[in-house]
């Protein structure tokens, strides 16, 4: 875990006081809402459907027990006893009072957390792989790079009023668990001649014009990454469109001028910028790296898991994945109970997971873009005890990557931008497919729901995606098939005319029936779709 030094702390503390000053100016009328809005957004404070909403950054999805406990305490003290984990590894509080916001930020600062740049047309929270540091196949832990980028992007003086928001992901495995190529810039760490550097992808994104990012460079060394990114951002800041907010993301620029021309402009700018001494010395990354070094693993641990309890065995098979260290395992905690709200956790649940992280996971936990939690360093011998505590708290659902592990944005129940409700639909789908054996039979099936075209629910990247729209004041749902946010990234295609809430649940059932009838060998739903195409599914749905 990264720990702030006095510099980091003083910057976050100063930000709290700056925001306190801004809120005070708003409450006394010195700032109009038009003037205040960009200032509050740059600190993650929205005016949502029912109240102010505060989005707290969880940089690259890593938290300590103490930080997690603080999130739970804030939920109790300032909100209505719960929080919502988002698809960008952040946490949102739904019921915040404006006057309380500075105090909440001050509390967050005591545990080295903040809400800096969780909204606004600036560089947002850096996201990363929830298995960073514990998966066997990564070339290096991506989080030191992500922390380097967190600091570089914090209050960047040139890139705070970009044409539109800017999201960066850093991964280091061939398995992409972060939808890296659906980010404005994606970095994938690679090893070349024994040196670690980054492949760079630019111009990915979801929203109303989804695009998979093309590669713009096959290697940037660690001592040049900052000046290279400055070049990428400068070209975007100067030439990204500002005439239409729906065409302002970097993906549109890269698409309109072409990836080769964008690359050429970046290289030209980079040649200039790398002369300016903008890159921290390699000693800085060397300073950050030990914070993410392996914790003190015990050796000689048992690999045995007592599977006598069938419910526990089922959970182990579904939620527990291999750890690089013998005797340890990675535990995925589902925030998708069948009748629950995807990504929501009560304050009590948040505090419980904080306790479990401290007691059983070397004081560390992770948040995933699929709105689940992870205990990254668990002794296999402790799995049963953890499962019992999770089960008691309603957190032992065994559905990782199954059809009921649904990603859903808050939708029209909470969000001022939404056109339709996502959560009730997610609950109906989960109920329809509740049967454990049926879910297992369907296997890996990533279902993602967005309540509007902004695509916070990643519907373009769902094996099955659903987009809620407003049809003459009535909620209507379009169905998409064939998307993926993983290393085989692809964009889903719309099946045809939309459905009512119940209609789309029926349509999904027809789609899964076709899959079961047509699959070959060990094909996942996505594999079968890619082999047989849209037609048979369409016939089943509309025929």
């Amino acid at each position: 875990m990264y720990r702030y030094d006095s510099y980091d702390q003083s910057i976050v503390d100063a930000r709290v006081e700056e925001f306190r000053d801004q809120v005070q100016r708003r409450l006394t009328g010195a700032l109009t809402e038009d003037q205040f809005k960009p200032l509050r957004l740059m600190n993650g404070l929205y005016l949502q459907l029912h109240a102010y909403m505060l989005r707290v950054a969880i940089p690259y999805g890593t938290l300590s027990g103490k930080q997690m406990r603080k999130l739970g305490e804030i939920a109790n003290k300032y909100d209505k006893g719960y929080g919502h984990f988002t698809t960008r590894q952040n946490l949102q509080y739904n019921w915040i009072k404006l006057a309380d916001a500075p105090d909440i930020l001050a509390e967050l600062a005591t545990v080295e957390m903040h809400a800096i740049q969780t909204s606004g047309n600036c560089i947002r929270n850096i996201s990363s792989d929830q298995y960073a540091g514990v998966s066997a196949d990564e070339v290096a832990d991506p989080r030191p790079w992500a922390e380097l980028l967190r600091q570089w992007s914090t209050f960047h003086p040139e890139f705070t009023y970009l044409p539109r928001k800017f999201k960066i992901a850093v991964i280091a495995s061939d398995d992409d668990r972060s939808a890296m190529r659906l980010h404005d810039i994606g970095l994938k760490l690679v090893s070349k001649d024994g040196v670690i550097g980054a492949e760079v992808y630019a111009g990915g994104g979801m929203g109303r014009t989804p695009m998979v990012a093309p590669q713009i460079r096959d290697f940037v060394a660690e001592d040049e990454i900052i000046s290279y990114l400055e070049a990428c951002l400068r070209v975007y800041n100067r030439y990204g469109r500002r005439d239409n907010k729906y065409k302002a993301r970097i993906k549109i620029l890269v698409h309109e001028i072409g990836v080769d021309e964008y690359r050429r402009q970046v290289e030209e700018e980079f040649a200039h910028m790398k002369q300016l001494g903008l890159n921290p010395p390699t000693e800085e990354l060397d300073r950050i790296r030990p914070f993410f070094a392996n914790p003190a693993y015990e050796t000689g641990l048992s690999e045995e898991i007592d599977r006598a309890d069938p419910a526990f065995a089922l959970w182990v098979d579904r939620q527990v994945v291999a750890h690089k260290q013998p005797g340890y395992a990675i535990v995925n905690i589902s925030l998708k109970p069948l009748s629950g709200i995807p990504g929501d956790a009560s304050a009590d649940q948040i505090v419980l997971v904080a306790d479990l992280a401290e007691q059983y996971s070397l004081d560390e936990l992770r948040v995933t873009h699929a709105q689940n939690l992870v205990l990254p360093h668990v002794k296999k011998a402790d799995l049963y005890a953890i499962w019992q505590k999770l089960d008691e708290a309603g957190l032992a659902e065994a559905n990782l990557n199954l059809i009921t592990d649904i990603i859903a944005c808050p939708g029209l129940d909470y969000c001022a931008l939404a056109n339709a409700r996502s959560i009730p639909l997610a609950q109906k789908i989960a109920q329809r497919f509740a049967d454990t054996e049926r879910q297992a039979e369907l296997g890996e099936l990533k279902l993602k729901i967005s309540g509007c075209i902004n695509a916070c629910g990643h519907h373009h990247a769902g094996h099955i995606g659903i987009l809620g729209v407003d049809r003459k004041g009535v909620e209507n749902f379009q169905l998409l098939l064939g998307g993926s946010g993983a290393e085989d990234a692809s964009l889903g295609q719309i099946t045809g005319p939309g459905f009512s809430e119940d209609g789309v649940v029926d349509a999904i059932e027809k789609v899964t029936d076709i899959y079961l009838a047509q699959r070959e060998g060990g094909e996942r739903f996505l594999d079968t779709y890619r082999r047989i195409g849209m037609k048979p599914f369409k016939e089943a749905i509309y025929g």
């Binding site: 708003r26 005016l47 459907l49 029912h50 109240a51 709200i341 129940d413 409700r421 959560i423």
Partner: protein, 111 residues
């Protein structure tokens, strides 16, 4: 919805004013002499909506105020759009946090 004759405003659709309390963020409705959390306290603002938005925002009593269409009947005031009905009630997936926590069917009102 086949709703008939409201005793407050008559049959016709009305214009009502809503927004959020600047300090607390609560959803509020213009009740004629001040703001209320209950949509049923709304009054028809007619063509005075824009003026009220200006004066009430300037007085720091409301933020993000806007005028919407609504209809009225014996049960009260019903905003024309589902988004404002959800604002009037609360999140349908958390009945305990709506303004009608004891009404299990309250969520159906928004549809």
């Amino acid at each position: 919805m086949g709703r008939s004759g409201g005793e407050y405003f008559g049959d016709a659709g009305v214009k009502i004013l809503t927004g959020n309390d600047l300090v607390t963020g609560d959803v509020i409705w213009w009740a004629g002499d001040g703001w209320s959390r209950q949509v049923n306290d709304s009054v028809d603002v007619g063509d005075k909506g824009d003026d009220l938005v200006r004066t009430e925002e300037a007085a720091l009593r409301v933020v993000g105020a806007y005028v919407i269409d609504a209809t009225t009947d014996d049960e009260g005031v019903r905003p024309a759009h589902i988004k404002d009905r959800i604002r009037a009630l609360g999140p349908t997936v958390r009945p305990d946090l709506t303004l009608k926590p004891n009404d299990a069917d309250a969520g159906n009102w928004v549809i």
